[in-house]
Symmetry: C2
Subunit: 152 residues, 2 copies
DNA sequence: CCGAAATAGTTGAACGCTCAACTAAAGCGC
DNA sequence: GCGCTTTAGTTGAGCGTTCAACTATTTCGG
């Protein structure tokens, strides 16, 4: 059964290629800055942010994985690294003996607090400074739609 | 010298988090699909696309790196893999004895041709189908601005 | 020309992610 | 209560990327 491929039209092509170039450049830049200034990749920074905003600075592994859009395996490996760095600790979950709770340490919080200003500056410089307020609004709507479409 | 951090306002926060969630979900999905259907990550697919569109299906390593937004090191490793898979060959550059030319093989072209319809469908399903034509246009302008801002 | 600096590309180690396989504990059906 | 299935999380192998160090060639200043 030969189904015709709906190829991308020229506008879609341009959009897709520009999107790829921009998002790769943006994430590469932020990742490099964060690695240089805080000694961690952006994905780890995000985990610390989520933990820092959770009540008691702690979260079940599954909840942390979901909040960060991470697979369980990825999170296990990541938390192992973060624990080795002294930024996160694991504790047994009191209500489910299968469970583990990841907990941001004071040292982890301090590291995050030290890294945050530089990182926010980076996000500003590399993303928001280049866009008009209207474009920021458009990007928010587009991203929320896509996130919903992809994960919801 | 204490410089106040220009923190993100709530709208920027929302935008940034939605963008992160969406772009990660999108690339993860496309990467998984391409790995499953074509046995290669998205980054390698992009390299084959660039080569397939170049005159003689060949490009200097540096030019390929730039066209794909890749570091030289990344490209060296990638081309080594692609060569082992039989999809790319390396040749000496006739005009510069330091240089190498990467060349898409017939087998590489066939693999790309086989993978393309499924991948394009994936891009459509996961990206364009969720957006209105106006949003596609907005995303194109935003991405082109950002790509320019980040690399230009 | 000649030496210094720039450019092209590769390499290996360290690290992060994916995938599949695994252990252990809940939950569910009857 | 007793299996069966589902859920929580970990593990190790394999792969892709980064970074710094390295070789080889070319370019440029004088």
């Amino acid at each position: 059964m030969a189904v015709m491929t709906r190829w991308l039209d020229p506008d879609e092509q341009r959009t897709w290629r520009a999107y790829l170039a921009a998002s790769r450049a943006l994430m590469d830049t932020l990742d490099r800055e964060l690695q240089r200034d805080a000694g961690m990749p952006h994905a780890y920074y995000e985990l610390l942010v989520v933990l820092s905003e959770s009540p008691g600075r702690r979260l079940r592994m599954s909840d942390l994985a979901e909040a960060a859009g991470s697979s369980r395996s990825r999170l296990s490996h990541a938390v192992a690294r973060l624990e080795a760095a002294g930024w996160v600790r694991r504790e047994e979950c009191p209500t489910d003996r299968r469970g583990q709770v990841a907990l941001l340490t004071d040292e982890g919080f301090a590291t995050l607090a030290a890294a945050a200003p530089g990182h926010v500056e980076g996000v500003r410089r590399n993303l928001f400074d280049a866009l008009s307020p209207a474009q920021v609004d458009q990007l928010r709507r587009i991203s929320e739609t896509l996130a919903e479409h992809l994960t919801g």
